[in-house]
């Protein structure tokens, strides 16, 4: 591709749509995982008592449930991203490529 081609892609409405949507989505998800994880670490550091609270009458604590929850959330977030990227973002990208190569 030449310099002119790149400029054409940069100006292309599909490209702008793709990058704007994707960067918004990726930023939101990155902030989500950071907040979930740092929130958990801060609870571990400052609210040990809260994490020790029992669920129901058993010995299982809130900390264990939240901890497993963080693990599952990390996977869920990657799933959400991949689903959106393989559908919407890939469709936008292939539209863009088709229009540019025309």
């Amino acid at each position: 591709m030449t310099q002119g081609d790149y400029a054409r892609v940069l100006q292309h409405p599909r490209f702008r749509e793709l990058t704007r949507e994707r960067s918004k989505f990726a930023t939101a998800l990155s902030i989500a995982i950071l907040a979930i994880y740092l929130g958990f670490i801060l609870l571990v550091a400052f609210a040990k008592g809260l994490l020790a609270v029992k669920i129901g009458d058993g010995v299982t604590s809130l900390g264990i449930v939240l901890g497993i929850g963080v693990i599952l959330a990390a996977w869920l977030l990657t799933g959400i991203y991949v689903r959106r990227a393989n559908g919407r973002f890939d469709a936008l990208t292939s539209d863009l490529v088709r229009e540019i190569e025309r």
Partner: protein, 566 residues
């Protein structure tokens, strides 16, 4: 000699050495406890089956490996699912299997904090790095960092970052391997280290990325199968009720109910957040992991592979948690797993034979008998081998592709010559690793993995991220910021308690926190920003002008799609 002949000769050598060691072990066992003999043999036999299978794969891979793309990136022919398994294989080290289950055995909840830290870097890798890396690079993350920046300085920087991470990680793995094999197989420390080193040289030097990937995949399947069986056996005992398992553990553990809540692992919030950042962003800067994204065909496969890998690693960490609690309930009331004093008492935590890291291994015996113990021991050995092979390949690639082909030969070296040098580097790295493993035998190397993650988070990750996302990044900015991050991470670890007091023997540490990442990452990012801003050179204008073309390619893959398919 042709490569095939050398491979044959090396296999013969390894087999002879191993047979000799088997013999030596048998001789030693005459004086040793008879009960352990059978266990060790089943482990050794199963490990040999693994080694033979992987050598067979290496053989086939060596026949198919011709170009540089074959050697470094398995020809781009790995599928998303295979790469997901291989990434998981690279990441699930013996340290995390035995270490985290041992930590859960000793402290309960605190073990979970570690596994969560190791996992949460993966979403970040996916959201920010994976696709862009695949779109911009060829074989290493240096390809990406130097895409528009000055090739020579940025390659030197990222190769230095790579080799530092590889060296620290390798030392930790080699020493761990030697110790572990000593306990599991009854083998001499030095022999164990030599076998690990020799096998990793064979995998990498002959089979390149293809063999290394398949070693990872096989190991990942074996480890997940073994760990699944153990967790299943534990849960079965409790009617698949985690609550019943936790209740039994609380009733058995000397620390009682406190194992269900955070303990003293996280000393202060600054250390906690610093460790968290190192684990989270270090994952996104590990060279042997980043290299894996070049083995798949396109960005779609790259992102799928992260999804699969994250799921597998998450599943694995949940298994280690169950295994740790299972070890509490199955082992703690059975004195045969502990060093028992003359009056019949024993310490239910530190008295565990071989230390708390052996919790999973003893549990294997408790739930599956001696044959399964042999299987788990063999899997642990295979795990170490696979991880060191991945590291060696990353290090060898940094030497041949980044330093030699791009910096020294300035792109004029032939592909054959580059690949030959890479194989040679793998051999040298393997030998150095054996020597380092031997030298560090009696040192406390636990801090080395933390150091590897800190360097990855403070040098590799900031340079990669800023070069891809911030238009203003210049060669000079990346260079100074990256080296500041690297130097500050290493310096702060040296001045921290783990090295300054526990290893060097000074009275009081100078750097008060356990992990430097919070500070060294800030230094790296601030350094890259500041020195890029201050950079008014001709080169800086060139760097910034080239951003748009890079941006288009990193976002869309235009111009990259078939870069190394053939």
């Amino acid at each position: 000699m042709t490569p095939r002949r050398i491979l044959l000769a090396l296999i013969a050598c390894t087999a002879t050495t191993a047979a000799a060691i088997g013999g030596a072990w048998a001789a030693g066992a005459v004086e040793g406890p008879v009960a352990r003999q059978a266990l060790n043999w089943s482990a050794i036999v199963m490990f040999f089956v693994f080694v033979l299978a992987t050598l067979g794969i290496t053989w086939r891979a060596a026949m198919q490996t011709r170009s540089a793309a074959d050697f470094y990136a398995a020809g781009g022919g790995i599928t998303g699912w295979q790469n997901g398994l291989a990434i998981a294989g690279d990441y699930m080290s013996a340290a995390s299997f035995l270490g985290i289950s041992g930590l859960v055995f000793a402290t309960g909840f605190d073990g979970l904090i570690y596994s969560i830290g190791f996992l949460v870097g993966w979403p970040i890798v996916l959201f920010l790095i994976a696709e862009r890396l695949r779109n911009l690079g060829k074989f290493t993350f240096s390809d990406v960092a130097s895409f528009r920046l000055g090739e020579t300085p940025v390659r030197i920087l990222s190769a230095t970052g790579t080799l530092a991470v590889v060296a620290f990680y390798l030392i930790a793995q080699m020493v761990g391997a030697g110790k572990l094999i000593q306990i599991l197989f009854g083998m001499e420390y030095l022999y164990a280290v030599v076998i690990v080193g020799a096998l990793m040289i064979i995998y990498v030097a002959f089979g390149g990325m293809k063999a290394t990937t398949w070693v990872q995949i096989i190991k990942a399947c074996l480890l997940l199968a073994g760990a699944s069986f153990m967790a299943f056996a534990v849960l079965w005992q409790f009617g698949f009720s985690p609550e019943a398992m936790f209740a039994a553990a609380v009733a058995t553990h000397p620390r009682g109910d406190s194992i269900m809540a955070p303990g003293n692992l996280v000393a202060d919030p600054v250390s906690a957040i610093s460790l968290g950042l190192a684990l989270m962003f270090g994952t996104a800067g590990l060279p042997h992991i980043l290299m894996r994204f070049f083995t798949v065909a396109d960005a779609k496969a790259a992102r799928k592979s992260v999804f699969y890998a994250t799921g597998l690693i998450a599943y694995f960490y949940i298994l280690t948690f169950i295994i740790g609690f299972g070890a509490i309930t199955f082992l703690m009331n059975d004195p045969s797993y502990f060093t028992v004093s003359a009056n019949g008492s024993y310490n239910k935590i530190s008295g565990l034979l071989g230390g708390t890291n052996m919790a999973a291994v003893h549990l294997a015996n408790a739930v599956g008998g001696s044959l399964f113990l042999g299987f788990i021991s063999a899997v642990a050995f295979a795990t170490i081998l696979a991880v060191v092979a991945g590291l060696t390949l990353a290090g060898a690639t940094a030497v041949s592709h980044d330093l030699y082909a791009s910096v020294i030969a300035r792109g004029k070296a032939s592909e054959q010559k580059e690949v030959r040098l890479s194989k040679l580097s793998a051999i040298v790295i393997g030998i150095v690793a054996i020597i380092l493993g031997y030298v560090f035998e009696n040192q406390n190397v636990a801090f080395m993995v933390g150091l590897a993650f800190a360097v990855a988070a403070s040098c590799n990750f900031p340079v990669l991220l800023m070069s891809v996302f911030w238009k203003g990044t210049t060669t000079r900015g990346a260079l100074i910021g990256g080296f500041l991050g690297l130097a500050s991470a290493v310096a702060m670890v040296v001045l921290s308690k783990a090295v300054w007091v526990q290893t060097l023997g000074f009275a009081k540490e100078i750097f008060p926190y356990d992990n430097p990442a919070l500070f060294s990452m800030t230094i790296a990012f601030a350094g890259i920003w500041l020195f890029s801003k201050l950079d008014a050179s001709q080169r800086a204008r060139q760097d910034q002008a080239a951003f748009e073309a890079q941006y288009v390619r990193s976002e869309t893959g235009l111009g990259a799609a078939a870069a190394h398919l053939h």
